[in-house]
Symmetry: none
Subunit: 240 residues, 4 copies
DNA sequence: AATGAATGAGACTTCATTCAT
DNA sequence: CATGAATGAAGTCTCATTCAT
């Protein structure tokens, strides 16, 4: 039995595999086959993560995987086919990851905060996601649309649930959809700006997380503008 | 004197050009030179807008411009050099456009609304921006970073001004910067989702604009969750 | 004992095969071996017949035969080796078929007519021959030359026999050889033009057969040109 | 002014070209362009003539022409496009050649003989035609069909004219068409068998020409079989 | 024997860039 | 300056053949 794909993605496999196999140090054909496929997958993820889709030539991927170019086409009909599977593969893993890190029995706002945090944690574990998420729209458009759709749908369901509980503003479903896309867009931009530097993923600053929470809980503008004196920051934007 | 670049971009030049030139129907060498450059620029914008950066080959651009391929290299050292100038060119024009459409003597929230609206209006006038904005991060990264930086800076200044007036929540400057990026990200995603279909720009729905306004003015979550009965929408998300 | 190859080609095997084998439903190793070889053969014939030699890749042939690619090389040293055997296999069967359909105790001219007809009948039964005959010169040149040689030799013998009987013009042996090649060439062209459409074999029109007979019995030109009025067709080539 | 294409094919250009150009030893762009095209054409003809269409890779053709591979695509959209033009180019030249060598004021039979002879003479001058004619059906099917069509049409016209003069048997038009294809097929086979050896074109033997004439003038079979004694050859096919 | 994954040479094609005219 | 032909590196993909299981 081989590792599940998400174990492979995040490298979290723990249990020892079939002992007899290990002792014999031999794999069945099907296992070897699956191994090579995963190998190519991992290589592609790495290459795309490092150089982007455009530079992810079959030559590079197979070199990274340590197999001949022709081998690639034993597993994927076209280069595009592999590229198209990259985002779904990781996307599903990411959703699972985020879901696991989301506390229950807390307010919707806190749960959204959990999700936001978990996203950036996942990004640290699978930094390739950064580029893949950014570039998939252009280089794997079908997969991208599906991914966004899936994200948005599941997100919207959560928000509607919160609305039913009275924790989310009473937006219509259409408005809810818009909210979802704004949140996704915001998160995406923030990841580019605050969790990425010189080609590698960095820790997201705390104030980004709290800012996100503030926007969501109270918006950007004050309802009834008060006098400037009351504001909690001075003109330089520092807390007194 | 030739048209200013933004007049060229939006085609809004009104006044007749230098009459003496027209009568003589001759241009100085420098003018002809500038004309060709603008020509290539416009062609590149059109091609990138229609097919994306990846398909914007020098052959295509020069064909669109009606000049020989070699001519291209009399004006730009490399293909990339032109591509790098595309976003700045349009970006500046866009900022000017948005600024013109932003009312004074209204609340900050309303002005932000103006800006949001103006952005989508500009998009309708210069649909090429859509693709350029989306793809520049990948194909003209330096230009993209500069553009985002410029946008963010000017945006942040406006928000700080609003904060000083007490109309914006009392965020720190760092938080303000985060806000700016969230707004930009949200707007970007919304434009892709709601103002773009089958390769051409469409009118942004009103409810998207109002949703944006709502997020900014009150956030997504209720401060103190009330009972579900009070919510203004039924379980299907419709206004009763 | 397995089917003879021509029975396999035309699928005319009638008698039940070795009963004891069927009851035991087991085959000796040699028999299984031969079966697989015939299987590959039949697959190759089908594939070449449908797609031509160029498209008859080992992958396609083995897929059609339902065996693994590697199996192919247990029976044939190279792909070419199998392709080289295709035409001889069918060629021999064709000659046998034509011979069977040729009446005895008739004039040589009539017998040639029989052969001509039989050729087209065979073509209908084994349509793959069409492509194989056409393409073998290119893709299996050795086999092709041998085939033509065999055809010509047997053909020439028949014609010489007719000459001995006084039914064939008194050509020299060299001339006879030339005649044979002309007849073969004519027949080949006619099959392409009149018995083949859209990749499948069609019935040869009667007037083609009669025209062939006319050329052979009286030539194309009149010995002593008469006046145009006497001709049996009008200027439009219709019988009055 | 450049050589006409058929002069290039057969290399029979006689008159000196534009003297001023020669003195300056410079060519205009258009001339150079045309030169390169002809160069590629000639290279392709040579390569196909020597190795066949299947081996006529762009790499080989451009190597033969002494230009870079990329240059090829400045002149032809695809490899196939050039291959498709090979037969028409030569075919037209051949028809012209044959027509020039056909005497007037002689019987139709003699003129057909002229054409037959001329075909083989042309083959000696342009030996590449051999392979091109043989392989075009497979590798340039559209061009091949057009060529055969053109040949057959012009041929049929000649035969109908002969029929009107009473020199050709009174066949119907349909029969005439069949005759044409038989003649073309016969000629094709004969060229392969008697004018080709070890990859190069050889002189066609006289007895082949006379045999062709005999078939056309009197057919293969005797009308009324006489006694064997009368035949002009002995049993070994030799003239006594 | 049967299997089928692995191999790698080689095919076609694209395109940014150069350079002589 | 403008031109446009020439260049050649690089990319995707195919397929006959090998070989360990």
């Amino acid at each position: 039995m081989t590792k599940s794909s998400d174990e492979l993605i995040r490298g979290t496999a723990a249990a020892p595999r079939n002992a007899s196999k290990l002792t014999r140090n031999k794999l069945t054909r099907a296992e070897r086959n699956e191994l090579t496929r995963q190998n190519l997958f991992a290589a592609a993820r790495k290459v795309v993560g490092r150089f982007g889709y455009a530079e992810a030539s079959v030559a590079r991927i197979t070199a990274e995987a340590g197999v001949a170019q022709g081998t690639f086409y034993n597993y994927f009909v076209t280069r595009q086919e592999l590229l198209d599977q990259l985002l779904p593969e990781i996307g599903k893993d990411m959703l699972r990851f985020i879901h696991e890190r989301t506390r229950y029995r807390v307010s919707e706002a806190e749960r959204e905060n959990d999700r936001f945090r978990a996203f950036f944690e996942y990004l640290k574990e699978v930094p390739e996601l950064m580029r893949i998420l950014n570039e998939a729209e252009l280089f794997a458009p079908a997969a991208y649309r599906q991914h966004v759709e899936a994200m948005a749908t599941s997100y919207a369901r959560l928000l509607r649930r919160g609305r039913a509980k009275g924790e989310v503003q009473p937006f219509t479903d259409d408005e809810m959809e818009v909210m979802v896309h704004m949140l996704l867009g915001a998160r995406g931009y923030l990841s580019q700006r605050y969790a990425f530097a010189d080609g590698s993923v960095t820790q997201i600053p705390e104030h980004v997380i709290s800012s996100y929470a503030k926007l969501l809980s109270g918006g950007l503008f004050r309802r009834e503008p008060e006098t400037a004196q009351e504001t909690a920051v001075d003109k330089k934007g520092r807390r007194p």
